[in-house]
């Protein structure tokens, strides 16, 4: 079995988002980075499927040279190897990202055979385009099911549960398939120390696609105005309980 997981490196923004002077990016000078949560679940699912069925697992990302950290993180969880579509740090729009990933996936498949499942996050945490996995699936001519909270192999098919209002909708599609997933699909493991050690020597293939002119072109970013909440103190410690209860009564919930 062959499984791929596509991930994105995103900053851990903390309590407040600061922008660069030209307002075209988040100021990440003092920030750490991570794999965004939806995709981390895609990685975990890929690792579990290969543990259960044997085979080859690959993690792909399009991002700056530093994104190799997130590739190593994925390999520390158990992915076998990585393909890094390296950029110069400029933003790529979702359409261009999908185009480059499609090409890289095709190249790997022509050498090693088709992936049974390619995992994506339902949407990236930062730019939230809701489309990369769907575009890649269309390019490959494969079924794509989105927003998944549960994935179960059933022979040559995969049963997928998608969260909707009032429960979950079920889809059953043939493999090979592209699945976009959400956090809650599984509980990703913490990387083990030996896992991290092994990840250091796992192969990372680097390709450098050229960036087409974006058709969804970022002009500038802005932090939305706060909601103007007043932060009225009700006191401190257990002594504040009375004031809290009075506030709840006034709010009509008690």
């Amino acid at each position: 079995m062959r499984i791929a997981a596509c991930i994105k490196r995103v900053p851990i923004t903390g309590g407040r988002i600061l922008l660069t002077d030209d307002a075209r990016a988040i100021n990440t000078q003092h920030l750490g980075f991570t794999i965004s949560p939806h995709e981390e679940c895609g990685v975990e699912e890929a690792v579990r499927l290969i543990e259960a069925n044997k085979g080859d697992s690959v993690v792909l990302t399009l991002g700056p040279s530093e994104a190799v950290e997130q590739l190593r993180d994925a390999m520390a969880l158990g992915i076998d190897r990585a393909i890094h579509l390296q950029t110069d740090g400029q933003e790529w729009d979702a359409e261009a990202t999908a185009g480059a990933l499609l090409e890289a996936i095709r190249a790997d498949e022509s050498a090693n055979g088709p992936f049974d499942i390619i995992f994506f996050g339902n949407e990236s945490a930062d730019s939230g385009g809701f489309q990369v996995g769907i575009r890649v699936a269309y390019g490959l001519g494969r079924p794509c099911v989105t927003g998944l909270k549960k994935v179960t192999l059933e022979g040559s098919q995969v049963r997928c549960e998608q969260q909707v209002e009032g429960g979950r909708d079920v889809y059953v599609v043939p493999l090979p398939a592209v699945l976009t997933v959400k956090e809650g699909l599984n509980l990703p493991r913490y990387p083990s120390v030996p896992g991290k050690m092994r990840a250091r020597s796992k192969p990372v293939a680097v390709v450098t696609p050229s960036r087409p002119a974006p058709r969804l072109e970022l002009v500038k970013l802005a932090v939305p105005a706060g909601q103007g909440r007043r932060a009225e103190s009700l006191g401190s410690g257990a002594a504040a309980a009375q004031a809290v209860v009075e506030m709840l009564q006034k709010a009509g919930v008690l």
């Binding site: 903390g14 309590g15 407040r16 988002i17 949560p37 729009d93 979702a94 359409e95 949407e123 945490a125 730019s127 939230g128 385009g129 809701f130 489309q131 769907i134 269309y138 079924p143 989105t146 927003g147 009032g166 429960g167 979950r168 909708d169 079920v170 889809y171 059953v172 599609v173 959400k182 956090e183 809650g184 509980l187 990703p188 974006p214 058709r215 969804l216 072109e217 970022l218 002009v219 970013l221 932090v223 706060g226 909601q227 909440r229 932060a231 103190s233 006191g235 401190s236 410690g237 257990a238 002594a239 504040a240 309980a241 809290v244 209860v245 506030m247 709840l248 709010a251 009509g252 008690l254």
Partner: protein, 285 residues
């Protein structure tokens, strides 16, 4: 000039019409036009309808389904797609403002496209009170577009108050300290008839199921009162709280972002404060 709108029941589609009308006279396709839901078939039907109408643009609400169908349409038509917009001005290029980071950041962007494909972020635009646009006739779906379709439905497993619909939520963060620590959170929630929520630090640690997580990659909530206990207030957590009417923060750190972005604050150890609130409620009964 016509503009094609994918319509669902409810507010977000009415809000979508407000922006769509700037691009032409709306005609509609209902999201339940093909049942059971089959997103590829809908996308193909929209593509055909857009061509036949020579639609200037295609709009949908930025719901899960709206975004999904629009992305499939974009792939078929080989066009860019701007998801979760809160403003859009016709022109070449089209100027849009869209949500990033689940609404924690706004992006101004130019959409270079002969046929703009746009979804409108729910609850960011006033609803349109004009008439419901006429529906267009759809072609019969092709079998190859029915591979992906809903074949079954599973009812929600968790009993109790659902997070999305809860009037009151008592939510715990890393400050609660452990899985067992949630006993005091659950106790207060039970007294208030509230749902229990939590931060991602808590779900990642395995203390609570992901269905309890509030935030960008959890549930967006809209209670009358949200009581946040030992939660710092990271932007991704706050992204789930935009609809909360009143936020109460209980935190030992008065400078925690949530303490600065709440309506009411209590400073101190939640392990003392939360049981004291429960005791005070009992006393008054």
């Amino acid at each position: 000039m016509s503009v094609l709108v994918l319509m669902e029941d409810g507010g977000p589609s009415r809000q979508t019409l407000t922006l769509a009308r700037k691009f032409g006279e709306p005609r509609s396709v209902r999201i339940d036009a093909i049942l059971p839901f089959a997103p590829d078939a809908l996308a193909t039907a929209l593509a055909q309808a857009a061509d036949e109408l020579d639609a200037s643009a295609v709009f949908a609400a930025g719901t899960e389904r709206g975004n999904e169908v629009m992305a499939r349409l974009a792939a078929r038509m080989d066009l860019p797609f701007a998801a979760n917009c809160i403003a859009a001005a016709p022109g070449d290029p089209v100027e849009v403002t869209r949500l990033r980071w689940g609404g924690s950041l706004l992006e101004e962007a130019r959409l270079h496209s002969p046929r703009p494909l746009i979804t409108v972020a729910p609850h960011t635009v006033a609803a349109d009170d004009g008439s419901v646009p006429p529906e267009v006739d759809l072609h019969h779906p092709h079998d190859r577009d029915l591979t992906v379709r809903v074949s079954d439905h599973v009812e929600p497993s968790s009993a109790g108050v659902s997070l999305a619909a809860a009037k009151v939520i008592v939510s715990g963060g890393r400050g609660v300290g452990s899985k067992e620590g949630f006993a005091i959170i659950e106790e207060l929630a039970a007294l208030l008839g509230a749902a229990v929520g939590c931060s991602r630090a808590v779900t990642s640690a395995g203390w609570r199921p992901h269905t309890d997580q509030v935030g960008q990659t959890g549930t967006k909530v809209a209670p009358e009162v949200y009581i946040a206990c030992g939660i710092s207030g990271a932007t991704q957590h706050m992204a789930g709280l935009k609809g909360a009417k009143r936020i109460v923060a209980i935190n030992s750190d008065p400078q925690a972002p949530l303490m600065l972005n709440a309506d009411y604050t209590v400073t101190g150890d939640l392990k003392e404060i939360v049981p004291a609130i429960s005791a005070e409620i009992r006393k008054r009964r």
